[in-house]
Amino acid sequence: MTFNWALAWQYRGQLLNGLVTALEVAVVALVISVVVGLVLALGRMSRTPVRWLAALWVNVFRGVPALVSVLWVYFGWSLLLGINLTPFESGVVALVLLYGAFHAEIYRSAFEAVPRGQREAGLALGLRRSSVFFHVTLPQATKVAIPNIGSMFIGMVKDTSVFSVVGLLEVIRVTDNIESTTFQPFVLYTVAAAIYVVVAFGLDFAFRMAERTLTKPPAGALSRLLARRRHRRLEAISARAEAAPAHGGGPGPGAPLAVLAVPEGRPVLARTAHASAAGNPQPQPDQ
């Protein structure tokens, strides 16, 4: 038996199409399942009936294999509900059901990793709960969750391989088709494996970049490049304000925290207690 490795190049177009299909399913499912996972995570942290429903979803679908999930959606929904999904849609729904559950667990632990004081600080500033969530808690939880979501995404791409059973033309289905005419299973499945490995490497790199960009200050050259415009803007504001003496500029004596603290019209307080402070203008040594 000779191994004809040239087949990989010969059928590159079909294999590449299969990969694109697989990635499309996985990316659409990723976006939806992260949102679903977020909602489930919040559900698990809320009041009892909601919490139970969310826990039920998580515990059921974490245990279902992708193969069973897609068969259930593709054939089951059709028979039971009359919903006829395409192989592509079935694949997306199957992944969302499973990975929504995983992302819920990832986000739940990520929210728990955000210190309680962060939420308290947001509330103490008078922010609404929704503002605290979207501007304080969620960004910090997402940074914690990103590496795990990346691992899940690699799993999602790999799980698309079982969607060949419903006829989705992804990498494995394409490989099966080529194999049935060329009779080179070792070569073709090795190529398929190599494609998954390369993609996993690429995705790992992409999620690492995302993580480094979410790190503050941004870590690494590429993420710094991405954050450069924002940083320049901040520097410009600080430079401009420093140039304008209206703001009191530097920290000189009598620099105007007073201007901030007491708006015009607030009554000036008269009290002898202040005299002692006034008579002693030099700051005391602190302890």
Binding site: P115, G117, Q118, E120, A121, G122, L123, A124, L125, G126, L127, R128, S131, H135, V136, P139, Q140, K143, L214, K216, P217, H231, L234, E235, I237, S238, R240, A241, E242, H247, G248, G249, G250, P251, A255, P256, L257, A258, V259, L260, A261, V262, P263, R266, P267, V268, L269, A270, R271, T272, A273, H274, S276, A277, P283, Q284, P285, D286, Q287
Partner: protein, 269 residues
Amino acid sequence: MPAVRSLAGQPVGLGQEGAIAGGAVVELRGIRKRFGSLEVLRGVDLTVHAGEHVVIFGPSGSGKSTLLRTMNLLEPPDSGSLRVAGVEYGPERPPGAPSGTPLQLRRQIGMVFQHFNLFPHLSALENVALALRRVKHLDRAGAEERTAAALASVGLLRWAAHYPSQLSGGQQQRVAIARAVSLDPQVMLFDEPTSALDPELVGEVLAAMRKLASAGMTMVIVTHELNFAREVGDFNVFMEHGEIVGSGPRGFLDDCPNPRARQFIGSVL
């Protein structure tokens, strides 16, 4: 100790030496708070007047921080009530008084935490600007202008683009002070603002607070810095076991009538 509580309930702040122009900004009445089987606040009455600087001190676990946190309902009291800027909150409001919302209350009050609690994913400027935009509804330019002024007032304008992880503890706490003060609160609460700092960084934070105090800001300060308390405290409160055990005006720390408070002061200094 009802006698002490009624004393604290009257406008005694500086009653003898000089009248405070402002009325009561914060009034706590019979505040009780329980965590499980532990009663951390056992009926506390305290009045804070406009422009007054109230210092709360006492041993660990005496309920000082919890008391401070009930003032902006981060810890809702189990019983008792509070009145802030003329609005009633809490379970035991006077009959007929409608309750304000926690949001309404917190928008009157600024708070500085022991561990700063800056938002680590936002730069110093964004930390201050966030609430100016979301609470004061300033546009981006307006919020940034006010933020720049606030950071300048604590001497940190140069650090506007830096993230909390790039700032020292003292700088972080000054940003936290600027963040709270920029919202123009009626009262500022300080929860052991220097306890988490290296000793050499304490001074810069106290300097910012001193500046705020001399600008007439109403302040309630939980602290172990008794020298600072002596300097700015118009009214001093000693707490132990969830109660106000002793309290008094300026000079209370040097000439304390309460033996337990005197013992505590002696052990700290």
